[in-house]
Each structure stands twice: as C-alpha cells, then as structure tokens.
Amino acid sequence: MNKNRSKEYDVIIIGGGATGAGTARDCAMRGLSVLLVERHDFATGATGRNHGLLHSGARYAVTDHESAAECIEENMILRKIANHCIEENNGLFLTLPEDDIAFQSQFVDACTSAGISTEIIDPKLALRMEPSANPDIIGAVKVPDGSVDPFRLTMSNALDAKLKGADILTQHEVVDILKDQDRVNGVELFDHAKKEKVKYYGKIVCNAAGIWGHNIARFAGVNINMFPAKGSLLIFGHRVNKMVLNRCRKPANADILVPGDTICLIGTTSERIPIEEIDNMYVSKDDVDVLIREGVKLSPSLATTRILRAYAGVRPLVAADDDPSGRSISRGIVLMDHKERDGLEGFITITGGKLMTYRLMAEEATDLICKKLDVDKKCETANIPLQGSEKSDETLNNVSQKVYSVNGITQKSAKDRHGSLAHKIAKGDENEDSMVCECEGVSIGEVKYAINELHVNNLIDLRRRTRVGMGTCQGELCACRAAGLLCESMEEPGKAKDDLANFLQERWKGMSPIAWGETINEIQFTSWIYEGIYGLKPDNN
C-alpha cells in the first residue's frame, strides 16, 4: 500500500463502514486526496450487522415520512450504481389475523405520499407469488424492497475510492485526534498488525465511525449525545422466501424476513444498551426466542429450518443537542460541523442514518468537506456505477465464462459476488478452479484474488470478501483449506494458526446462541477435527 506519512491529506475519513467507504469514494471522485482508516476491517460495525435489506422505505412510511422518502430515492439509485450488490426481489407487507387490516390503507396512503409504489395483492395471489408466506394472511401489499449485500457494497466503494487515488488503512485504530489549538489537523493511529503508533495529517478529519464516533468525538474534546440501540438477527441455512416479507403494522420486533444469497434472515429486536457495551454484541436466549416466535408467523417453515447463526449490531442513534435525556431521538441523517457547533475547525461528524442512505450521507458529508476546502465540484455518485457494476459490452456471463474452464458453481458464485470484477479472478490452470469452500462455491482462484487485491488480513476478512465459511458447515473444512492458502501469503505460519483459531472462535460466537440440532452436532465435529486431530490451540500456536 502506498503510504505517505509526510503527506498532508485533504481529508482523513474514520470508519470503514458503508458511510466511511462511500465518503472516501465521493471525496476521491471530487479530486480530493483521501485517507480512509478503519480499526478492524470493512463493514465490521453496523454496516455488516443488519438485515441487508434494500428498503423501499415502506417500513417508515407511516411513522417517518422523511426517512421513507430518502429510502425510496436511494433505493432507485442503488439499483443503478450497485446492481451487483443487489437482488431485486420485491417485498410484501403481510397482514396477519392478529393485525389490524385497517392499517393497510393508512400504510398505502403514506407510501404513496412518500413516492413508494404499492400494489394491494389478493392474499391468495400473494401466496402464489410467495409460497413460503403464512397461509393465514388476510392482506398483502407489494413494494419495491430488495436485498443488498453490505459487505460487497462497502468493498466496492472502497475499491473505487482506491482506484481513484485514496489510501486505505485497515487494522488501524484511532487512538487520538491531533489538534493545533482549535483546529483538528490529523489522527494518531495504532497499527494492530505492527503494534505501533503512527500519525497522519489532514486538513479535514471526517468522523464516520457510526456508534464508535461517540468515542472518536471525545478524542477531539467534543461531546455527541449518542444512544446505542442493539438489534439482534438470526440467519437461516436456507433461502425459504424469494421476496422480502414484512409485517404490515407499525415497526416492531422481528417483523422482517429478508432473503439474501443462499440464506434468509429474520430481525430485529431493538434494545437500548449502555455505550460501554457496544463492543460486546451477544445475543441473548430471549432475543433468539422472540425472533423465532415472530419469524414463524411470517413464514411457518422457519420453525423447521436450520438456524445458522445469531448476531447483533448497534444503530447509532443521536439525540438532539438540546435533549440530553435522549427522548427525542432521530433516525435520520445527522451531519455535524464542529466549527459551527463546538468552535473546532477541521472536524466533522456524519452519523445516524441507515445503510440505505449511506450514499446520501456520503454526499452530504463530502459537500461540507468541499465547502470547507473551497472545492467546487458536484457529486456524481448517484450516476456513476460502482466497481463491479459498470455496464460493458460483455454480459456478466461472458465475462465470467472466460474466468473458469468449467461452467460450474464456482463460476456463478464468483459472478454473483464480484460482478464484472469476476474477470480479475485469474485463470491459471485447473488447480485454480479447485473448490476451497463447498457450501458457498469458493475456488482457489477467488481466494487468491481476494488475498491479493481486496485488503485481506485474516480469515475473517476473507469470509467477508468471498463467503468462505458462511455456509451450512460454518467453516468446518474450508477454514483449514483457506488458512493454508492465506498462510502462503503470510510471513509467519504460526500467526496463520492463531488466525485459524480466531476464525473458529468468531464462527462459534454466532453459533453458540442457537447451538442445538445440527449446529451442536456440527460444532462437536469441528472441535474434534481441529482440536482433537489437528491439535489446534487457542493461541501461541
């Protein structure tokens, strides 16, 4: 990576979520010199810990008109600029016998006024469109919901930013905000790989760290009144539904079932937690039970579908400045110019919002950065496709057929995961086609591409790039194969063994809350292989 520590960047962006990566892309497209820093890996915070729902905005139509209107506008933009990250599945808002059918007309009216197209569907027809839905439904409304892969979306933004000259540092944690009197002029970072502190300087520092922005602001001596809200979700091992299923009622617990890739997921719960707990995202037994109970109401077959994992994320909710109690909390976008707010120049915070509005958040943040730097260039992110989604003369199928000699599952999977970038998965010889992960169809070639070009530092990063270990076996056999390949690119094989142990621990974190049935069988088998036969230990390998 091209690191120039003596150079002063125009802007340093903190946070490798969708907002940070999107802001980095926007800034780079407007000709600014950009450094993006992230303490772990891309999409490790709230970005990677939600439904992956391409909201139509319908969910907010009744309660929050502004968010609903933002969502549908961004929804249509993402279909254009990020089509390889999106599945255009459409969604249904279902009314169950226990729900008030009168809400449906209120809902449809609110959608219409927010610009969201709706179609009331006869329940019988709705069941033909979506056979997995609860057969007892008394009402259904079709809306333009979809699915979005947040890992892929974030990575595409980061790759695009990099291509346009941005520098990117993952595994670099902000430990201080550097100031010269009342002006922020850089960041001090801890490099987790090298275990050392480094300083970088920039004219503007943009805090896009989501809920962790609370602490970032503290480093700058600024207080932002954040209220973390934890949401838990369950991932099922099969894709039972083809359309997004929602409950047609005011937003409540566990009322959205989203299909994505090979799985589907139900969520969320919502629980306010103390800021001290934001790095400790456990899913409780009660959370799991409520998710299953409500999920089965949307789609009864979930009762007999294997659950793969449970996970939780934190929404970065921000209270109005004149309300320290946090009672009037906004779910909208919050952009703070700390010059105006706190008299601190060179520091801005972009937070609140949703995955759906990341691009808009990035646009608003970049507009402010440009204004401060006196740069007069318009935002183009709504029109120019992301890396992997560009239209070209060749269809995606043509591109990926060049990649693989066999027209197999790896080919289709790679195309789905990397879009038009799939051609970068070099075809060396037939060895490159060999399957590393059989659940998700990941080839050696794809793993090598990810290691070489997609900022992969460890197996967990590799999972986010390629879905290695995300399938039914949760890394039982593929983890070791992938570790072997990653090991080749690491200087220290001992480190690769620790990495493998960490990977298994990370998988277990999501499995333990739902470890019964096949999951408990699987983890027992996995433990026997890695600990029993291989003699893998948790650390100091």
């Binding site: 072997g484 292989i529 036969i533 291989y534």
Partner: protein
C-alpha cells in the same frame, strides 16, 4: 428375527462389543446408520492424554485422579489394565497393526506439527518416545499438486519448533488429472482410490526418491490404502528414506480402512452387519427391552436377549438437542445433562464445553436408565455415555473400547 445380542451403532464401540461377543459364540447383529467417528480417525487410539489440565505420561496411573462419575472409574480401575490388554489383543486379532502401551503414552505428530500423547498407533503412522525431540534433522514435506487438504506450511512451522529443517515440494501425477478437473474431487479418498489400483505407487515412489535426495525423512499425507491393505507398506518399501505419514482433512483414509477391517472381522465371526439402517423404536415389558423395529426392515422385528446402545454422541445423533431439551432419540432414555440450553456452552470455543460431558444415564452396571429405572438388558457403551469430555482428556477411543468390552463382559457373565 432373533439374535443373542443386538448392538445399536457401528462405530468403534459397537464393533468392539460385537467382535468380543461374536468371538464368544454369540449370535450378534449390529445396526449402523452409516459413518462414525472412525471415519475421521487420526490413526491413534487415545486412552488418557490429559488429566487436570496436565499432560499424562502414564494413563493407568493418572486415571486415579479422575472424577468418580468418569466412565473409567465406573468400570473400575482394578479392571482397566486387563481391559486395555484385551482391547489391544482384540484389535490385533482383527488384523490391525498397532504400537503402544497403556502404562506409558507415546507421541504422534499432528498436522499442525505438534506432538500429541496417545496410547495405540496404527503402524502406518510413526510413534515417538519423546515429545520434544525428533529423530531426523532435515525433512522434505511432499504434497500432491492441487490437494488442499494437507497443510504443509503448518507442519513446517511445527517442525521448526522441534529444531527440524523442512522443505515443501509438490508432486504432479497424471493419474490424478481426472479427479483434479472436478473442483470438489481432489480429496483424500479419491487419491487413495488411485493408489489402491497399484499403478501409481511405483511412479510416485520414484518421484519421491528423487525429491528426497539430501533429506533424512519424507513426510506425506496419509492417503494410502483405502480398501487395499498392503499399499501403505509397499510405499514404505519403495521409498528409500523413512516415511512419516500425517493425517489430512477427513474423511481419514486409514480410518475408513480400520472401520472396514473391524467390520470384516465381525462378519467373519458370523455377525450380521446392517448398514444404513436406523432403529426406530423398542418394545419394552417389565423393565426389559424385548425387540426393536428398524427403518429398513419395517414389520420385521429384531429380538435379542441383550441390547447394547453404542449410538455415539451428538454428531452421531446418539443424543439430540432442541431449543428446549436434550433427549435420547431411539428409546427416550434418561439424559445426564442440563435442560437449560444456556448451561450447555462456554462462549470460548476452546474451553471445556458442558455439552461434551452429556450422555445417557446408566446404573453401576452400565444399564440404561429410563424414567429413573434401569432397563434390565440394555447396556450403554462408548461416547453416548456421559461423564467425561473425551476431547479435552484425549480419552475418546479408550472410553469406546473399554466400556464396550466391559458391557460385553457383563453380558457374557
């Protein structure tokens, strides 16, 4: 159909018990649902590798410190030494070549390149007396090109800590071209099948001899001899340097061969081995199990004087967990384990997991309990028994072998 004894489970325990009973003239049947833990066998049978967090040198001695509800303690330490001899002799009579002794652990090298204490090791593999010294100084690690299931760099790293210089080399074989073309076929068993045909071994040995020039030992993945029981020996004859085989990712080639060897022994003794069948239910009367019904045999009931449950742990489906309970799926026997699922786990995967200790409850004679009362003629053996974490202790094979011999002795009394 009527048998003297019916064994539910065709893994190490079930086969051991079946062989022992059949050797004594009993008419036995084994009902096996399919694969078992032997299919990912490391090549060694452990007796006791760790006790109270300490590595064990003399398993027989260290057993004294185990908790009272441990299967070894319940069998009775006075019987254990004799049973370890019986187990070894039974395995040898069945045709397995094994090295090791119960009062002194030896070591084997794992695919992570670390030394692990164990009891009996198949002659395919190499036994070491010491954990911190390696008899060779320069090792060549050979792998087949395109084979992802053998982790040469991890082995090399482990050897470095043992002060051994290792170099990794790859071998291409035209015999593997066909399996390499299919992205998911380059796996241990398919390579082993090619070697089983005996038309690749000569060429491979020649290549290995060239590549091992200047080295003291050749390290290879254990992919030799799936159905062919002599190929591993032939390989060692043809390669001039000492050969050290290490396990690859399961399924284990020597494990499948071991399973076949034991199954053949059982069948040669007149045993009936019902593969791919599941016991659906049992008929009980006055505290006795009278007969069982299986999936494949429908109305044909199987009667026996005694039954042995050797159905394995969770992954073999000997015990089943749902979100609200644990149960034994065939007969609904009593389970020794917590019903609250929050108690089953530790959040750290490498810690001692409570669920690993769970199993079917038995009385002192290893007879299964049902609603608190023993079933007079239903014995329990192997990893479906609770009371130990065989993974943490390194006691899985020992518990299987010794409790199944113990159950057989109860029946033969």
């Amino acid at each position: 159909m009527k048998f003297d004894n019916i064994i539910i489970g065709g893994g190490l325990s079930g086969l051991t018990c079946g062989i022992k009973l059949a050797e004594q003239g009993k008419k036995c049947a084994i009902v096996s649902s399919g694969q078992s833990a032997i299919h990912f066998f490391s090549g060694s049978f452990d007796l006791l590798g760790k006790a109270n967090g300490e590595e064990v040198t003399n398993p027989l001695e260290s057993m004294k410190s185990l908790p009272e509800n441990h299967p070894y303690k319940r069998v009775g330490l006075d019987k254990i030494e004799r049973l370890t001899n019986d187990a070894l002799h039974l395995l040898v009579r069945s045709g397995l070549n094994l090295n090791g002794q119960a009062d002194r652990n030896h070591y084997t090298l794992t695919p992570m390149g670390v030394m692990k204490p164990t009891w009996l090791t198949l002659s395919d593999f190499t036994s070491f007396d010491q954990k911190d010294s390696f008899p060779w100084k320069k090792a060549v690690i050979l792998n087949f090109s395109g084979f992802l299931d053998f982790h040469t760099l991890f082995i090399k790293d482990g050897l470095k800590k043992l002060d051994v210089q290792a170099q990794i080399k790859t071998v291409s074989m035209k015999q593997f071209e066909a399996i390499r073309k299919n992205p998911s076929e380059m796996r241990s068993t398919n390579i082993a099948k090619e070697f089983d045909k005996e038309n690749a071994i000569e060429e491979f040995a020649q290549k290995a001899n060239v590549l091992s020039d200047g080295f003291d030992v050749v390290i290879l993945p254990a992919v030799f001899g799936l159905f062919n029981k002599t190929i591993a020996d032939k390989l060692k004859e043809k390669i001039e340097k000492p050969v050290l085989l290490l396990p690859a990712i399961p399924p284990s080639v020597p494990g499948i061969r071991t399973q076949i060897t034991l199954r053949e022994r059982f069948q040669e003794l007149g045993g009936t081995y019902l593969l791919g069948d599941n016991v659906e239910e049992g008929v009980f009367e006055n505290g006795r199990l009278l007969e069982i019904r299986t999936n494949n045999h429908g109305d044909i009931k199987f009667e026996a004087d005694q039954f042995i449950l050797a159905s394995g742990s969770f992954y073999s489906k000997g015990i089943v967990a749902t979100h609200d309970k644990l149960y034994e799926p065939i007969f609904g026997l009593d389970i020794d384990g917590d019903s609250n699922r929050e108690k089953w786990f530790d959040e750290k995967i490498f810690n001692d997991q409570a669920f690993m200790h769970y199993g079917v409850k038995t009385d002192q004679k290893f007879r299964a309990l049902m609603n608190g009362e023993p079933v007079e003629n239903l014995y329990v053996a192997g990893s479906v028994l609770g009371g130990a974490n065989p993974l943490k202790e390194g006691s899985g094979a020992g518990i299987s072998l010794l409790t199944s011999l113990h159950a057989a002795e109860q029946i033969l009394k």
